[in-house]
């Protein structure tokens, strides 16, 4: 403690100290170092430096495209979500990707590095905002994030002449979202239906058919889950209140929040969950919850008590979309890969494996060859009745997005 207090030391001592600092072994005391370190940090952090930092506007990214090296470099870097691709028995190869490489000679560097939209945005934002390459040629993100990336001008416009199959085979349902008219920048990878899932055993005879049943049945107090994805939870609530998620107003949004807040205050809603609701549901900790149909199809196979219901008021549909970020080096290759997955055969192979909504028309016959049940499952290939009940959440302006996310965060306690 008393080792280094310069004021009290004689000049000779100070000189000795200095010498020991320079020449001695292990002479620097921890305290003096800490002091020096703090001083240095403070100097660096001088007010001027603070003002120099700043985050540039999202839209000022010049030089959208990079030189397309597709012809020279037969490769592509594809970032996707985990477990979102067919896998062979060894668990290492992706047969549909391998077939693509065999046919085109384009090697695919396939990375499963997307776990969460918000986190992935945090990851790629610095490069894209600075107009730099992300090292990725193709990414897969959910509607609202795709909309944001397009709004910021951080993704490239697709060359439709490279996408003949995609252009022809894309399902009517997904053809022209309001955030990307005519699919100029994006094509869906898979569709996601948001439904109500339940555990029959945990319900113990209670019936759940709508969001109202979730929110109002006192017997289910503390055993109801909603999703932490704002658009899914609010969208389902809006539908239940007779509003259309494609056209709702600020007041409608506030009303939906208030309806959920009441249930939170009563202790009706146990949690707002990410993907981890699946284990809660199979264990029976959650009796019923808002859930993603693709998960439920898989859960059903393992636990017979789990099932789902589509409310009469309808259900939410969103998509995960393939986009080519700015400065991608292999744009044409990426477009060829998108187009490949819009051919019926690869699309069927994928659909048979991952159980989400297939966005490709004309897949049913191919899928039936692989898996008859999947071909007749309306959750994978929606029939007319299913398609009629499907709703999409309208795109939001930056201002709305911030305000709505903030209100939703308050609802979830953070």
């Amino acid at each position: 403690m008393e080792q280094y207090e310069p004021d009290r030391l004689s000049p000779a001592q100070v000189a000795a100290m200095r010498r020991s600092l320079r020449n001695g072994r292990a002479a620097l005391s921890r305290r003096s170092l800490l002091r020096a370190g703090t001083g240095g940090a403070l100097a660096v952090g001088a007010l001027g430096t603070l003002s120099a930092c700043g985050i540039p506007a999202a839209k000022n990214t010049a030089g959208v495209s990079s030189e397309d090296r597709s012809a020279k470099e037969k490769e592509i870097a594809f970032s996707n979500w985990t477990e979102y691709m067919d896998v062979d028995d060894s668990g290492k190869r992706h047969p549909s990707l391998d077939a693509f490489t065999r046919r085109t000679g384009i090697k695919v560097k396939y990375t499963e590095d997307i776990n969460d939209n918000v986190e992935f945005f945090g990851k790629i934002k610095p490069q894209l905002a600075a107009g730099q390459a992300t090292g990725r040629d193709l990414i897969c993100v959910t509607d609202w994030l795709a909309a944001r990336l397009i709004r910021f001008g951080w993704v490239q416009k697709l060359d439709q002449s490279n996408l003949p199959h995609a252009f022809t085979n894309l399902s009517q349902q997904f053809r022209s979202p309001d955030w990307d008219p005519g699919r100029a920048h994006s094509y869906p990878w898979q569709g996601i239906s948001t439904v109500i899932a339940f555990n029959r055993k945990a319900l113990d005879g209670e019936e759940v058919k709508s969001v109202s049943d979730l929110l109002d049945n006192p017997k289910l107090k503390g055993r109801i889950g909603f999703l932490s994805e704002m658009r899914d939870s609010i969208g389902m609530t809006l539908l239940d209140m007779g509003k259309d998620p494609a056209t709702f107003s600020d007041d409608d949004y506030d009303a939906a929040i208030a309806r959920l807040q009441k249930a939170v205050d009563k202790g009706q809603i146990r949690r707002f969950t990410g993907n981890d609701y699946t284990s809660d549901l199979t264990k029976g900790d959650l009796a019923a919850c808002v859930a993603w149909a693709g998960d439920v199809v898989q859960l059903k196979a393992d636990s017979p008590d789990v099932d789902f219901v589509i409310p009469d008021s309808g259900y939410m549909t969103s998509t995960d979309n393939l986009l080519i970020p700015n400065k991608a080096r292999h744009k044409t290759n990426a477009e060829r890969l998108i187009d490949y997955y819009y051919e019926p055969k690869p699309a069927a192979e994928l659909a048979a494996y991952i159980n989400y909504v297939c966005p490709v028309d004309g897949v049913r016959a191919e899928l039936a060859k692989i898996d008859e049940d999947a071909a007749n499952n309306p959750l994978i290939i929606p029939d007319a009745a299913m398609a009629a009940k499907s709703h999409a959440f309208r795109s939001l302006t930056q201002k709305e997005e911030t305000a709505y996310e903030e209100k939703f965060a308050k609802l979830t306690g953070a």
Binding site: R25, L28, V44, G54, A57, R271, D285, Q398, G413, A414
Partner: protein, 310 residues
């Protein structure tokens, strides 16, 4: 000081001094040795801190960009908006730290003085949970505390949950998604950070001091109170710090084991930063948290009267 001697007094066998000065080997060595650590500190601590400090006084939006406008009010707004989560973080982390001390001290004592040849095995068992990921360990608590599970069943039949429910620690006949579950998770996850420093400082106590205390007619309790515990204070202080500081910033436990009324300040920062994209508020909250922890820790160290940790 050997380098010093060499530098100042060249060996007698040295040739006649030439114009070239003697090589002063030691001069830059300490700085060179320090360089990796210092560079690390500057790049991964000082620079991010400056960047965050700057972010916290900026205004703007992602679309228009952020500019430094010295909008210090962000701090006040953030604090007045989210003080419940701050208080909750301190409360949960404090409780978890206290529980860790309560559980960890006897175990560290046992390992240090009574374990004999089992000592290494028990130490390995203390560290063993670190071989799996933090996330997996936390998720495991969802199975342990599951509504229909044996733990909750036993607590229910003993009517323990009626008491905790009355205290507001649990809700109804469940533990998951309540404050109790979050505190359990925090306690479990940070327990090794308490045990290890406690063990190192207990293990260092000279056994003869205990004998001396016995010779002076101290009862075992007095020996512990007057000899063992005061000597283990450095371990207690560093253990509580190593537990409390990360626990108060943790958000995983509250996220996975908690509910809407158990969100901690870490959850708020995460949601501000990633979801709402309000970087200034997120940065301000981080700084407030850092300042709060720094103040609490300083007061605590002053009070506990120990400066050398471990």
């Amino acid at each position: 000081m050997s380098t010093l001697t060499e530098a100042e007094a060249p060996p007698p066998t040295a040739p006649v001094p030439t114009a070239k000065p003697a090589r002063r080997r030691g001069r830059w060595t300490p700085y060179l040795l320090l360089a990796p650590g210092l560079i690390w500190l500057v790049v991964f601590f000082a620079m991010p801190m400056v960047y965050q400090a700057s972010t916290s006084v900026q205004t703007g939006s992602l679309e228009e960009g952020y500019r430094v406008t010295w909008h210090v009010a962000t701090y006040w707004d953030a604090l007045s908006e989210y003080y419940p989560q701050f208080l909750r973080s301190v409360l949960y982390a404090g409780t978890a730290t206290f529980l860790c001390l309560l559980l960890g001290y006897p175990l560290a004592y046992l390992i240090a003085f009574r374990a004999g040849r089992w000592r290494n095995l028990i130490l390995i068992l203390v560290i063993a949970p670190f071989f799996t990921s933090f996330l997996i360990r936390t998720l495991a608590w969802k199975t342990i505390l599951a509504d229909g599970g044996p733990v909750v069943g036993a607590l229910n039949s003993l009517h323990v949950l009626d008491v905790t429910s009355w205290l507001g620690l649990t809700a109804g006949d469940r533990v998951l998604a309540t404050p109790l579950a979050v505190v359990c998770g925090l306690t479990y996850n940070f327990l090794p950070f308490m045990i290890l420093p406690l063990y190192t400082s207990l293990e260092r106590i000279d056994g003869r001091l205990h004998e001396a205390a016995g010779d002076l007619y101290a009862t075992p309790l007095t020996t512990f109170r007057k000899v063992t515990f005061p000597l283990s204070m450095p371990g207690v202080v560093s253990g509580t710090l190593l537990t409390f500081i990360p626990a108060s910033g943790d958000y995983v436990n509250a996220e996975l084991l908690g509910s809407t009324n158990t969100q901690m300040i870490g959850n708020v920062i995460q949601s501000q930063f990633l979801r709402i994209l309000d970087y200034p508020t997120a940065a301000a909250l981080s700084f407030i948290l850092m300042a709060a922890i720094l103040i609490m820790v300083t007061v605590y160290i002053r009070r506990s009267g120990t400066e050398d940790l471990v």
